[in-house]
Amino acid sequence: MVDERFDVVLSVDRTLMTNHHGKEFLGFLATGPPVMVPEKIWMAVAAPRMRVDDLGRPLEAPYGLRKIEAALLDAGIKAAVIDPDYLGKHLKNAKVLGIGHHDYFALGPPSSEWWVLTGREPVNSKCFRKFMEKPEVRMAKKNGLKIIVGGPAAWQWLWMPDYAEKWGVDTVVEGEAEKIIVSLVQDALEGKPLPRYVHVGIQDTPVLNEIPVIKNASVNGLVEIMRGCPRGCRFCSVTLRPLRQYPLEMVEKELRVNKACGLDRCLLHAEDILLYGADGVKPRPEPLIRLHQTARQFFKVVGWSHVSLSAVKYAEENYSLITRLSEIILQDEHDYIGVEVGIETGSPRLAEKIMPAKAAPYPAGSWPSIVKDAFSIMHESRVVPAATIIIGMPDEKADDLVKTLELIEELKDFRSLIIPMYFVPMGVLKNGEWYRAKPNGEQLEVMKACLKHDLRWIKDLSNWYFNKTNPFVKISLKTVIFLVERVAKGFRLLS
């Protein structure tokens, strides 16, 4: 192996240092415990090992780690993202280990929901614990390694302070870290005291020209096109961040990086792709068409992370824009594009209360009809929504759940998956037995309705989704689907 030393090693456990066989949706499996198959097979399907170079640097790495790596490299600091299986050699010399995670302790959705439903710890938190207890990490810590943790799940350390103490985490960083990470790491390299906790405020949140361009490839070619969200939903933290839109040249630079690293696909990422270049919350055709044409110049496969249902409706009804964009992206008449969307509730009352701007520019009270219209538009345009529904929100009443059940029933003929997210209030996390909380009767009915909907569509979708996937993954998942279907039939869910 080539010998090169890095002062800063960035890494994370296998559930995130993976490309999920090029299928982001398989990442959901990495947030749950193994179901009906041994853990080894579950992990091999959900989170396969990544290809690495001679130094143990992964070909693709989580986008957040790539941004931090870029900020440090731009500042002249010797930093690299290293695969968790190759840490030993590098931690002997490194002074700082930086870790970013989506769900360190499986406290966020959907991990928390898996945990509540099965009573078993999801693989992501198990893997993370093993990562922190690796002998090479423990040895390096003993020898003075500084450990800085961050990412979207940084808040979880405040609920698991004993682990911070046990593993010797030096600093927890909450918020976008590109602007502050350089001085923090410089202090660590110079042996200065590090803060235990940093909350990145609005003035230290990077503006556009302070966000670095990634230097190496991101998982499945993910490139960010915007940060923040203007909709202000009460259950979402993204909404607290300022809205920033990358200029097309910046997006193009990152597409180029991924292309140069040998990737054959890209995934455009924003809280709402359709708001790129929008007039407030009203999508505009020109910027979106240019964005998609640019992406297609580089990659045959172009994916979307998230769109909002109100933007889908507005874009199609005013500009036939979903049809036009799908024509740019889809390769043939057998192709689909998958995307995450948020239904959250079928209750106009709850929609008005917890997400009053999610329906904008339409009134929040008409939320169920917006959802139906958007699903119909996506069905026609071969866009497949993976939709979330939140159950257990504060203020949720039985009637809200009935309305949600009615909406799920009305969506049955639209090609889609609907995933219930069980809301775990933070206050409950204080209780070590929080995951033993059980959904009530109406909530269980919503979960069953989602399962019924998904089993109706999953066979049709799996033929497309797993086309060109390796046979092991295809067979494993088809087996799990078959078993789940048998169990569901046993419980008369599919009658």
Binding site: L158, P161, E165, E174, P195, R196, Y197, H199, G201, D204
Partner: protein, 85 residues
């Protein structure tokens, strides 16, 4: 928020234990008035420190908050200094 103003807060464990809610209660109104708030927490174990500042993470905080162990004093120029509770 004044873009340049910085606040320094000192927290002592023995006083904090007498009034655990005092820290966040005292700091909350200041969160909108300063660009950066540096908190030095004296006598806390790391786990206790993270637990003590936990309520801050639930608030809609616009200032940058930097929390040090009291043992790790960093001397900088601040516009205001307070001791809580």
């Amino acid at each position: 928020m004044n873009p340049d103003r910085r606040l320094h807060v000192t927290v002592r464990r023995e006083r904090f234990l007498e009034d655990p809610g005092g820290l966040v209660e005292r700091i909350a109104p200041l969160l909108t008035r300063y660009r950066q708030i540096t908190i030095h927490m004296h006598g806390f174990k790391q786990g206790e420190l993270l637990e003590a500042i936990r309520p801050l993470s639930n608030k809609n905080v616009w200032a940058t908050i930097v929390v040090y162990d009291g043992e790790n004093m960093v001397s900088e120029a601040y516009d205001e200094e307070v001791t809580v509770p």
